[in-house]
């Protein structure tokens, strides 16, 4: 039976650091699911993974696997396997013997361990590579072997510490597909550390967002994007539009007008910042129905374009596909579905980020409009 993983009140500090690397982290990962530990560098994600695996001892708190406290359990007895950014294939063993390693150290006869390893090699689509030295593999092949080696240990919990971050985009997409396929056939509980939002969304059912050693939010991928609990979460999830205003009777009053909020909004009446994902805004012709806005800038984002907009004094961003002629100064109408709106507490509760302004961007005209709403 595949166990789930729970972390209760876990804190960890390293000597010489003033702030804890992990600060009272509580996390529950259900059996057989995949949770991405997402956050910027230094957020404490990898330390959490190492604490779960037993490679680091927490200062406070405990790790439970299938309800059993792991405090006295050595890493080799926790039923976990880890794949890191570097494949760390044992250089003195060939590909097949690397995969057979877990069986060999368990005392499985060499022939049987190799036969078992060959099946996992096939699972990662590298049949015929068994006798090669590990130095003869490309980066992607080496990472596949590392995953096969981890899976051959039959782990109840698979820990992935940025395993695909050194691969090129095509190979990463292939590895995401491979992981999904492996999960269907082996189904361990998976914790994936990544700083890439797209990867977290592509691979995991849930995301646990970390910043400064704290877990900010743990939720489904969709809700992490559409219902961030704080401004900090919204910003770390890439949200760009923050409109200050007032919440009254299930509506948000701001320079955008009066917008009905989704039924699951928990923000109490009073000041609240409206969050609108830039991907969720539809930009149409001025003669259409919607919020009137003026295009102030355009930026290419590969297959899409990012449009800067002035909406009655509030500066917003939207992302649209190519195909429609747009230029600075064009008048447009914005359509924002109610289901994509979220409201969080006012910005003074948000933490400061070096690259993001503390205050939502708003012009003098917008500020006057907001003042009239508040009065």
């Amino acid at each position: 039976m595949i166990p789930g993983v729970s972390v209760e009140g876990l804190s960890k500090s390293f000597p010489g650091t003033r702030t804890p690397v992990l600060d009272n982290v509580n996390l529950t990962v259900e059996a057989g699911t995949c949770t991405a530990l997402l956050g910027p560098s230094g957020a404490g994600k990898s330390t959490l993974l190492r604490a779960i695996s037993g490679l680091e001892t927490p200062d406070v708190g405990r790790v439970l696997v299938g309800g059993q406290d792991m405090a006295e359990v050595l890493p080799e007895r926790r039923g976990m396997a880890m794949v890191q950014q570097r494949p760390l294939l044992f250089p003195h063993l060939n590909v097949l013997d690397n995969i057979a390693f877990a069986g060999t150290v368990r005392g499985v006869p060499k022939k049987a361990a190799r036969a078992d390893a060959a099946a996992f090699l096939e699972l990662v689509q590298l049949e015929g590579f068994g006798r090669r030295p590990v130095t003869a593999l490309s980066g992607g092949q080496a990472q596949r072997v590392a995953i096969a080696r981890a899976l051959a240990a039959r782990p109840a919990v698979l820990l992935l510490d940025e395993p695909f971050s050194a691969l090129d985009p095509e190979l990463r997409a292939a590895m995401h597909e491979l992981l999904a396929q492996l999960r269907r056939s082996v189904n361990p509980t998976v914790l994936l550390v990544t700083h890439d939002r797209s990867e977290a969304a592509a691979v995991a059912e849930k995301i646990a967002l970390f910043s400064g050693g704290r877990m900010l939010q743990h939720d489904s991928v969709e809700r992490m994007y559409s219902r961030p609990a704080t401004l900090e979460t919204s910003r770390l999830m890439g949200g760009a539009n923050e409109i200050p205003g007032i919440v009254r009777d299930g509506y948000h009053h701001s320079v955008l007008g009066v917008l009905q909020l989704p039924g699951d909004t928990r923000q109490p009446p009073g000041p609240g910042v409206l969050l609108v994902r830039q991907e969720s805004i539809e930009v149409g012709a001025r003669n259409g129905i919607g919020i009137l806005a003026t295009v102030t800038g355009l930026r290419t984002l590969g297959p899409r374009r990012q449009i800067s907009l002035d909406v009655a004094g509030a500066l917003m961003l939207a992302e649209v596909p190519w195909g429609r002629a747009l230029a600075p100064g064009d008048a447009v109408a914005l359509s924002i579905p109610t289901s994509v709106l979220a409201v969080v507490a006012a910005p003074e509760t948000a933490r400061t980020f070096p690259d993001v302004g503390e205050e939502p961007q708003i012009t003098g005209q917008g500020r006057n409009a907001l003042a009239s709403i508040e009065n």
């Binding site: 080799e76 880890m82 003195h92 150290v105």
Partner: protein, 290 residues
């Protein structure tokens, strides 16, 4: 019409030149000393550089001590082999402690670093003061004159102890240099694949250390085989290890014994080269070395 294009060399046409030029002075100096010394000793052992009389090609010097040479060879090989094994076991254990990075590892590293610059002759004198039947330990554990013959005894324990102590520090630092950069990550990976401490030692740490251990063991073996001062100070007068015999013959009043000393030195060199050749052959078969 197809145009044949030259394939550029991946390393570039002259990238090897600066590196080669930089090592030339060291190579020339080493070659002059090693090859020059060996050629001179070989010529002298074959009667081509006699101190008196005309040169005459002969192998008489190699047969002059035919009765003592097999014993000397066996004794030298035994001392070198046992000293190498002791140095490797102690040095590898010390390296494992050092790479753990804890306080005891730092202490062992400091002790090892302090040991390296001590000359062997000072080490031999210290071992004598410590282990001889009139030494510190014998006085400390006075047991009525029953102290074993550790120095000058039949088992050459003092000699092996000196080489084992000094060379284990060398082995420890060489192996630590190899393990320090990767041992921890491979060790952790193996642990998470279910390998306990002993399995990790057997399947990961020993194989990863083997090239460095082989190279340092070869150096220790060749050094223990060829150096005379420790065996001369701490060993018996008879039988003699090869380097002690070569030194005695070289310093003898009889002028004709110089070729015999050179013959013993050449035999020692051949044994050392055979050890180095065997070591390199083994390393070439190793996946890590390749």
């Amino acid at each position: 019409m197809r145009t044949k294009m030259a394939t550029p060399s991946p390393a570039g046409p002259r990238t090897w030149l600066p590196g080669t030029l930089m090592v030339v002075p060291a190579v020339v100096l080493a070659a002059f000393v090693v090859i020059g010394g060996m050629v001179t000793a070989l010529a002298q052992s074959l009667g081509l550089f006699p101190l008196v009389g005309p040169p005459s090609l002969t192998v008489a010097a190699y047969g002059a001590h035919a009765a003592d040479l097999p014993v000397g060879i066996a004794l030298s090989l035994a001392i070198a082999t046992v000293s190498t094994v002791v140095a490797c076991v102690v040095g590898f254990s010390a390296a494992l402690i050092i790479v753990q990075g804890k306080w005891c590892g730092k202490l062992v590293a400091a002790l090892g670093t302090l040991t390296i610059p001590v000359p062997h002759i000072v080490g031999a004198a210290s071992i004598s003061l410590l282990l001889a039947d009139s030494g510190l330990l014998a006085r400390l554990f006075n047991n009525g004159g029953q102290w074993p013959e550790l120095v000058g005894g039949p088992w050459w324990i003092g000699v092996v102890a000196e080489y084992g102590w000094k060379e284990s520090a060398f082995v420890a630092l060489v192996v630590t240099g190899t393990l320090a950069t990767r041992a921890v990550s491979y060790d952790e990976t193996a642990a998470l694949l279910g390998a306990g401490r002993l399995r990790r030692l057997r399947h990961i740490l020993i194989p990863l250390s083997l090239p460095a251990l082989t190279v340092s063991a070869t150096i220790v073996f060749v050094y223990s085989l060829g150096s005379y001062e420790v065996a001369w100070l701490l060993g018996r007068a008879y039988p003699e290890p090869l380097p002690v015999m070569a030194l005695r013959l070289f310093n003898a009043a009889t002028l004709t014994s110089r070729p015999e000393a050179a013959a013993v030195a050449i035999l020692t060199t051949v044994l050392s080269m055979a050890a180095v050749a065997a070591s390199l052959a083994y390393l070439r078969r190793s996946a890590l070395w390749r």
